[in-house]
């Protein structure tokens, strides 16, 4: 009960943040009605999916300060579970999703348990290695589609049980609900014991240990929650696109994208991942489409990398860090 109250209460935030959050909610609610463009709606849904990934990664990468570059494999495991369960046994979305999320979480637990013996760069490198192993496995594993990926069979009529709709509006609102749930969870988390302990660990492990914090266990717990977020995102991804392959949901590039997006927005802050997604996803998609149309590909990535460098040099805590800096000196 207390936890629920904490999750729903934004009273400790400054008025400007609450107003910003309200505008975000209203914007997401009216967006599908305000625009008719299907490309814009698709970008919006991608934005929401990336919000979900980012909010999850922010836990371990932002608050916990552990550069874990393996979100994609958890996204992929859950997406594949949902897709394959449907292809093989015709299992509905609502039954396969819990299984997918559990698989993603258990993988996070096992991996975290062993990898968190490593610190700093070594941990980051280890997560990259594990991601590459999974990626290769999924590309070459013929039983689950290999590099061709998996196509989800379409039902004849729109179907809530299998989450198949003709209009993107349904997907939009479902993704929005997931993001809202994630935000409320983070709102509880930042005020919780786990939240404080995780931030203490990123501040200094030696000091955190002297304050009775079992740093290994706290990191593993946080990593599992990150896995849950990725798993939810992956399950949704599978039914939204109806097609998945190892390059879209299992790839290291996705993991890096999630981490960079959160860092640009502001790792370790409540709104950082959303700000990061808000800037990068539309820029990535529109710029990519626009530059692709006039025959220049790859420039969008250069602009994107350049932006990362500027922000990292100017304020390591990202855009949110810049906002906070401005706020602290009136």
């Amino acid at each position: 009960m207390k936890a629920l109250k904490d999750a729903l209460s934004f009273a400790d935030l400054p008025a400007s943040e609450r107003i910003g959050f309200a505008i975000f909610i209203i914007f997401c609610l009216i967006f599908p009605w305000a625009t008719k463009g299907s490309f814009a709606q698709a970008v919006m849904i991608q934005f929401l999916i990336f919000c979900l990934y980012g909010l999850g990664w922010n836990l371990i990468g932002g608050y916990g300060g552990q550069v874990a570059l393996g979100q994609a494999k958890n996204v992929g495991m859950s997406a594949y579970t949902v897709a394959l369960f449907m292809v093989w046994w015709d299992v509905p979305f609502w039954l396969s999703t819990p299984v997918g999320v559990i698989i993603a979480t258990v993988e996070s637990f096992i991996l975290g348990y062993f990898l968190f013996r490593l610190k700093g760069h070594y941990f980051a490198i280890a997560t990259i290695c594990v991601s590459l192993v999974w990626q290769q496995l999924f590309v070459n594993w013929e039983l689950i589609g290999g590099a061709r990926g998996v196509e989800l069979p379409l039902k004849e009529t729109p179907n809530f049980v299998y989450m198949q709709f003709t209009s993107p509006i349904y997907y939009h609102y479902f993704a929005f609900l997931l993001v809202m749930a994630a935000i409320l969870f983070m709102n509880w988390f930042r005020k919780s014991r786990l939240g404080y302990q995780l931030r203490a660990i990123s501040s200094s492990e030696a000091v955190a240990e002297s304050l009775g914090i079992n740093i290994h266990w706290v990191k593993v717990k946080a990593y599992c929650i990150t896995g849950v977020f990725a798993g939810m995102g992956g399950a949704f991804y599978a039914v939204y696109y109806n097609y998945i392959d190892p390059f879209s949901v299992m790839h290291l590039e996705l993991s890096i994208m999630i981490a960079l997006m959160t860092m640009i927005g502001g790792a370790g802050s409540m709104w950082g991942p959303i700000i990061g997604a808000m800037i990068l996803i539309p820029m990535d998609r529109y710029l990519g489409a626009w530059l692709g149309a006039i025959g220049i590909t790859g420039v969008d990535f250069m602009i994107y990398a350049f932006m990362v460098m500027i922000i990292a040099a100017y304020e390591p805590r990202g855009i949110w860090g810049i906002i906070e800096k401005a706020r602290r000196k009136p």
């Binding site: 005020k191 302990q197 203490a200 030696a206 000091v207 240990e209 002297s210 304050l211 009775g212 079992n214």
Partner: protein
């Protein structure tokens, strides 16, 4: 039964014996000083007791329980708090939040943690710095924050590592007064390392002296001040001869 019992503790680093068969006891409710020149092994001894290092030999018993080789967070939960010589933490958390992290060692809900943190900050006169970042504060205040963080975990034994390092004489005096205050208020046992004699001499009931990894003396402050081996360790052979000549030892 002694609160802390260290028996035959030995710690080797490659080629260096940092702690060489050290044994001592600390009774409940005492203030014990641990002194010695730089490199005598004071911090190593601290780290072996708290669990940052695993001793190669010997045992550490706390409150009747064998805690040898336990991790720092475990010894902290048993009731040993410690402060750091240099507390290198980032400014990610405010002073209040840092102290709350300490409180979370004993309570799990945020409201009680905040309440506990607030009480301790009041005791250490830190209320006005509650929202500051540690990195923005002068060193004397940082030391008090470190003390508040350790105290928030409700230790029975508080181990202070060079609590006066980097402080000027006036700040040192204030720190000593503060320590005596919390010692009385919190029913603590204190174990204080210093290489500055002025801090430990007036407050300690007993002093342990380390030199070159070995315990060279243990006793009342006034006896320690006149102990030949201690003077030799601190001031050198020549000074010992000098004082012998004048008949003061």
């Amino acid at each position: 039964m002694a609160l802390l019992e260290v028996t035959d503790l030995t710690k080797n680093f490659v080629g260096v014996v940092a702690n060489d068969h050290i044994s001592f006891e600390i009774e409940k409710g005492q203030i014990i000083g641990l002194i010695g020149p730089n490199g005598a092994g004071k911090t190593t001894l601290f780290n072996c007791i708290v669990g940052y290092h695993k001793p190669d030999q010997g045992t550490v018993r706390f409150n009747g329980k064998n805690i040898t080789g336990l991790k720092p967070f475990q010894t902290n939960r048993e009731g040993i708090g410690r402060t750091f010589q240099i507390m290198s933490i980032s400014g990610a958390l405010t002073v209040m939040e840092n102290v709350m992290v300490g409180s979370f060692c004993r309570v799990s809900d945020t409201r009680s943690a905040r309440k506990g943190a607030f009480e301790i900050m009041k005791l250490l006169e830190l209320e006005k710095d509650a929202d500051a970042r540690l990195t923005e504060l002068p060193i004397a205040v940082q030391k008090r924050v470190g003390l508040a963080m350790a105290l928030a975990t409700e230790p029975k034994l508080l181990m202070l590592d060079e609590v006066a390092a980097g402080l000027n004489p006036k700040e040192t005096e204030e720190m000593v007064a503060l320590l005596q205050g919390i010692f009385k208020a919190k029913d603590l046992t204190l174990f204080v390392t210093e290489h500055v004699m002025e801090v430990v001499m007036p407050i300690s009931q007993r002093i342990i002296v380390l030199d070159g990894g070995q315990k060279i003396a243990e006793g009342k402050p006034q006896d320690i001040a006149n102990d030949e081996r201690v003077i030799r360790a601190y001031l050198g052979e020549k000074y010992v001869e000098d004082r012998k000549h004048r008949g003061s030892i």
